[in-house]
């Protein structure tokens, strides 16, 4: 701890930090642009100038940039010094010279860091009356708008996009007053994290194009703390609603999970909530006999079926814990099945088994960033858990920080650290089925099918610990050498990390990965848990597997249905056709008496249901989701569905008195895996006289007139009986409890940069603690190494490797209209040699056939695909022709495919012929 004096007040600070960090952490207002807690300082904008004094006798002092000056013990500085204030006002006046007067029509207006800083710096009269520099804007795709005239050249965009997120298609161009931030030519931004530019840019150069299309000011949006449902990371978000429509999603800070950043699927994939396809009302009957039923009729019918006996429930990994619980409690644990594919179910069971092991630790995103040696086994995290991919990119930079520390350079001296480290990175080894977007940070990559990678992983476990099982195959010298380097790097690292997941589709690979982590724990002395990050596919995959019994697989449910043992099946937020082969699903549906489907959007399953119950989206309900690390998080309801859709847990509850908290309390006592889950519910202890926390800002406009077009009477605000938040402007101040903070705002800080006011230190943790709770209790010792199993032999010429896509693998975001423009369709990627052998070119159709199934896929040719394997992408909602590691046959089919390779962002796509 160091002591520094700021404007006569003494503060205890971390002497390794810079002055700007410390001023902001202490809640002081000091303007800045180019600095960011995750990206450090470059001293480019000169906006954070303060006066520094040599000692108590120094009356004159010198101007220094706070972001570039260490908070050394005994420092004496002044923010309020007149010269410093004047300097800052002059700097911002220069930055603003060409900035247009377009705030009233700018999407950033009202939440603009530049507006806030301009006001804070006291530059409120513009003297420059000459011609301004103007630029031509670019088309950057459907997500991000571009208005270069607003740029103040702080370089934050490229420092995030290129330096932090590893993007290659956005760069600073030209120089001095012509400096331009854009692509080489028009075209969509290729980074999976491009949406962060919207929040990273201090003004309105990069804006959310999806928001612009139905714009509202920040203060006119009804918001609530929410959790992204796009994947299993569980990033915290703030969705905003106006006029019954979800208008946008922005990042909500969580110190352990997403920090300051979201991926583009999470930010821009919300359109399904507003989809015209939404199931607005419940329906009964099939085909032409289908008719809309009222809420009361629907409830009666649903209860009649549920009380009729012999009912099974099929839960969902994309539904909340509460929705699944309500179903489970209605049908009973023995009749509740996990609505995921059987292969995935088997993998999730292994994860469940591993979740109790004390030798392993599921790292948070922040912890992943701290790891300094990484081995990825068969998981394409960029497309299955993008926020983790962004974290892995930061973990590779730990080497730079080590070098800097050795040279006595503070890690926040960004330019100096980068100059020193050049291309040196911490070791990252990528063993995957195909080339991935992280290849550029990899020390070595191996591309192989799951069986091949499994052998390598088994051998690696054995290299790390001689007690590990003997691998099934012998390796080549080259492979042995690689495994030797991997083992050395993992053993020697300060904090090594093993990343795997269900994405490989292989149970054997998951087991082998666990063996590697166990062997590593032993090799490192066994007293410290090894970081073992197991990625799962959906927002509540972990929650579902903690609720469903160990044998309650979908395959079993379908068999029972087919055998006619089941009177009725209730399918919760799930399309069975995406979870099991079509023939199996069809046979099961033919055997079941009645099918009930609860969902928000029509699917092939709802089409065939006897009763379709209109469910709500994540934004229209409160719910709990459990992420990949076992972190249970509450997502608050943002707005009320103004049609007849209701949350699934409400449809399913037996007693109308059952509450969300009640459901969780029952679960806590009956389901071992959910112990402790009620602790995450926001408590209204501070609530006075039953007051709730408002979802609308104190500046919310037009509340009394918002319904005027429909009715001249001022309508009552909808009542929220389920939570401690209200659809209102009035109530308790939410500023003191970040668990119910609807959006980030502080006096004088209207932009998202106000988040610093809620943190223990900038870039740190939320002052009241990060919301959510880790449910895994690790007190068990390892059950011993998994023994390698010989894989079942199948026939065929090619080994199948499943692929994933940011836009296409997730069922809900894929149905957002704006995402459609970037959607990737089904494809099979072949090695150039194999394509030649088969006589197929890109865009041709091939028939992929396995044991019983055959499907046609358009072909793309990827240079790094291993000959003898095919990389198959099957969009959400469809079931792949075969499983990972299965042998399949390929033949050329007639016609050409509707391939959408234009949106395929892979590093090894062969261009010719497309």
């Amino acid at each position: 701890m160091a002591k520094i004096v700021i404007d006569g007040v003494t503060y205890e600070v971390n002497g390794d930090n810079n002055l700007l960090q410390e001023c902001l952490s202490k809640g002081l207002d000091l303007p800045y642009f180019c600095w960011h807690p995750c990206m450090g300082s470059v001293g480019a904008c000169r906006q954070c100038a303060v006066k520094q004094y040599r000692d108590a006798d120094d009356q004159k002092g010198t101007l220094v940039m706070a972001c570039m000056t260490k908070a050394n013990d005994g420092s004496i500085i002044s923010i309020e010094d007149e010269e410093a204030k004047k300097f800052r006002a002059n700097v911002i006046e220069s930055l603003m010279i060409s900035h247009p007067h377009d705030c009233p029509v700018c999407e950033e207006g009202g939440e603009c860091h530049l507006q806030d800083m301009t006001l804070m710096s006291g530059h409120n009269y513009r003297r420059y009356d000459r011609k301004k520099v103007t630029h031509r804007n670019q088309y950057l795709g459907p997500f991000v708008g571009h208005e270069m005239n607003r740029c103040i050249t702080c370089y934050r965009c490229v420092r995030f996009y290129d330096d932090y997120a590893g993007g290659t298609d956005l760069a600073a161009q030209a120089s001095h007053h012509h400096t331009y931030f854009g692509r080489q030519s028009d075209g969509f931004l290729e980074s999976e994290f491009s949406g962060n530019l919207v929040e990273m840019c201090p003004t309105g150069v990069f804006t959310d194009a999806t928001f612009s299309a139905h714009y509202s000011r920040k203060w006119d949006l009804q918001t609530a703390p929410s959790v992204c449902v796009g994947c299993a990371v569980g990033c915290n978000t703030t969705p905003g609603e106006r006029y019954g429509e979800l208008r946008r999603i922005v990042n909500r800070y969580h110190g352990d999970v997403n920090g300051y950043f979201l991926c583009d699927r999470g930010r821009f994939g919300y359109g399904f909530v507003n989809s015209a396809e939404r199931l607005a009302e419940s329906q009964q009957g099939k085909g032409t006999g289908r008719r809309t039923v009222s809420e009361d009729e629907a409830v009666l019918e649903l209860n009649r079926i549920l009380d009729g006996g012999q009912v099974i429930g099929i839960g969902s990994p994309r539904a909340s814990v509460e929705a699944n619980l309500a179903l489970l409690q209605r049908v009973g644990g023995d009749n509740f099945y996990a609505g995921v594919s059987d292969a995935e179910f088997a993998q999730l069971q292994i994860l469940k088994q591993l979740s109790g092991e004390s030798a392993l630790h599921a790292p948070s995103v922040r912890e992943i960033e701290e790891c300094d040696a990484v081995l990825v086994l068969g998981e394409d995290v960029t497309n299955t858990a993008p926020r983790i991919a962004l974290a892995l990119r930061q973990s590779a930079r730990n080497r730079a920080d080590e070098l800097a520390a050795a040279a006595g350079i503070p890690s926040w001296q960004d330019a100096a650290v980068r100059e020193l480290a050049q291309r040196e990175l911490s070791p990252v080894y990528l063993l995957s089925g195909y080339a991935t977007r992280l290849d550029d940070i990899a020390r070595a990559t191996v591309v192989d099918s799951a069986p091949g990678l499994t052998q390598l992983a088994q051998a690696l476990a054995r290299t790390l610990d001689s007690a590990a099982p003997t691998p099934a195959a012998t390796l080549q010298e080259e492979q042995k050498q690689l495994l030797g380097s991997i083992a050395d790097d993992l053993k020697g690292a300060r904090r090594p990390l093993i990343v795997c997941g269900t994405g490989s589709g292989s149970e054997a690979l998951l087991k082998a990965a666990a063996n590697v982590a166990r062997a590593l724990a032993t090799a490192r002395g066994g007293d410290q848990a090894v970081d073992f990050c197991c990625v799962v596919p959906e927002v509540n995959s972990v929650g579902l597997v903690l609720m469903a019994g160990e044998t309650q697989s979908l395959g079993l449910a379908l068999k029972k249905m087919q055998a006619g043992d089941v009177q009725a099946a209730v399918v919760l937020e799930n399309d069975l056709f995406g979870r099991a082969p079509q023939s199996q699903v069809e046979a099961a549906l033919a055997g079941v008496g009645q099918l009930v489907a609860i969902d928000q959007l029509p699917t092939r399953t709802t089409e065939l249901a006897d009763l379709v119950i209109a469910g709500t989206s994540f934004a229209e309900q409160q719910g709990t989701y459990i992420n990949y690390e076992g972190r249970a998080q509450t997502s608050m309801q943002v707005f009320m569905n103004n049609q007849a859709a209701r949350p699934a847990w409400k449809w399913l509850r037996k007693e109308s008195e059952t509450t969300l908290a009640g459901l969780l309390q029952t679960a806590e006592t009956t389901l071992e895996g959910l112990a402790g889950i009620t602790a995450i519910l926001p408590v209204s202890a501070a609530a006075v006289a039953g007051m709730k926390y408002p979802r609308q800002s104190h500046r919310y406009s037009g509340r009394t007139a918002i319904q005027a077009a429909a009715n001249v009477h001022e309508g009552k605000q909808p009542e929220d009986r389920d939570s401690i938040m209200a659809f209102s402007m009035e109530g308790m101040s939410s500023q003191r409890d970040t668990a119910v903070l609807p959006n980030t705002w502080a006096p004088r800080w209207n932009s998202n940069q106000s988040v610093s006011k809620f943190l223990d230190e900038v870039g740190g943790h939320l002052r009241q603690g990060n919301p959510g709770r880790l449910l895994f209790t690790r007190n068990g010792s390892s059950a011993g190494y998994f023994e390698p199993e010989s894989a079942a032999v199948t026939t065929g010429d090619f080994t199948l490797i499943p692929a994933y896509q940011l836009y296409g693998s997730d069922e809900l975001s894929a149905r957002a209209e704006v995402v459609n423009e970037r959607l990737t369709g089904a494809y099979v990627a072949l090695a150039p040699h194999d394509a030649q052998q088969l006589g197929v070119a890109a865009n041709d159709l091939v028939t992929v056939s396995a044991d019983q199934e055959a499907l046609d896929y358009p072909v793309c040719i990827r240079r790094s695909v291993k000959p003898g394997t095919i990389v198959a992408f099957t969009p959400a909602g469809q079931f792949p022709v075969a499983g990972a590691g299965d042998q399949v046959s390929l033949s050329k089919a007639q016609g050409s495919g509707q391939a959408r390779f234009g949106n395929l962002i892979v590093s090894d796509l062969q261009q010719e012929g497309i």
Partner: protein
């Protein structure tokens, strides 16, 4: 760093990379031996291509980007940072006319007006016959002999209207310009 190939995939429908010529490749290869990695050769490669082609077209830019595995946006950043890397076609002869303080004191504005009037071009423009492009530069380091301009590689000092006429005629006749003063 194969990530560059991603960046070029989105631009390829608009621009097709051209083939670099054998002599361009030879010179770029030589430069590569002088730097620790090929990405460092970006600027030199731009200069080499400009020397051979007169300017750097989109097709050339993409060709260098592919050849050196530098993201095309990054290479564009380098190309546009330097005023003398030409991203638009220029005339056969490029006149770099100093408009800095010493030349201004010595009346360069009159000479500039004379050139513009004679060739019918302003700063940044090229004559219709493709012979001359006129560009301003801040200083040519010859202040004691101002006004000064550089045509191609040759410096012309103590400029007068008459001298400018003669210089233009020389270049039109394909005669090399004066070397000393």
């Amino acid at each position: 760093m194969n990530s560059n190939l991603i960046a070029s995939s989105a631009t390829s429908d608009k621009i097709q990379a051209r083939e670099l010529t054998a002599s361009e490749i030879e010179e770029i290869e030589h430069e590569k031996t002088l730097y620790p990695d090929k990405q460092a050769v970006g600027l030199e490669a731009l200069k080499i291509v400009q020397k051979h082609q007169g300017w750097v077209s989109d097709e050339s830019l993409l060709a260098i980007s592919r050849y050196l595995d530098i993201p095309v946006s990054e290479l564009e950043g380098v190309a546009t940072f330097f005023n003398l890397v030409f991203r638009r076609p220029v005339g056969k002869h490029v006149m770099l006319f100093c408009d800095s303080v010493s030349c201004w004191i010595m009346g360069c504005e009159n000479i500039r007006a004379h050139i513009s009037q004679k060739l019918g071009i302003d700063y940044g423009e090229t004559t219709a016959d493709g012979e001359f492009t006129l560009l301003p530069v801040p200083c040519l380091g010859d202040c004691d002999r101002a006004p000064v301009m550089m045509v191609d590689e040759n410096q012309h000092r103590n400029l007068t209207a008459e001298k400018v006429d003669a210089i233009i005629q020389q270049y039109r006749n394909n005669e090399p310009g004066e070397q000393g003063s």
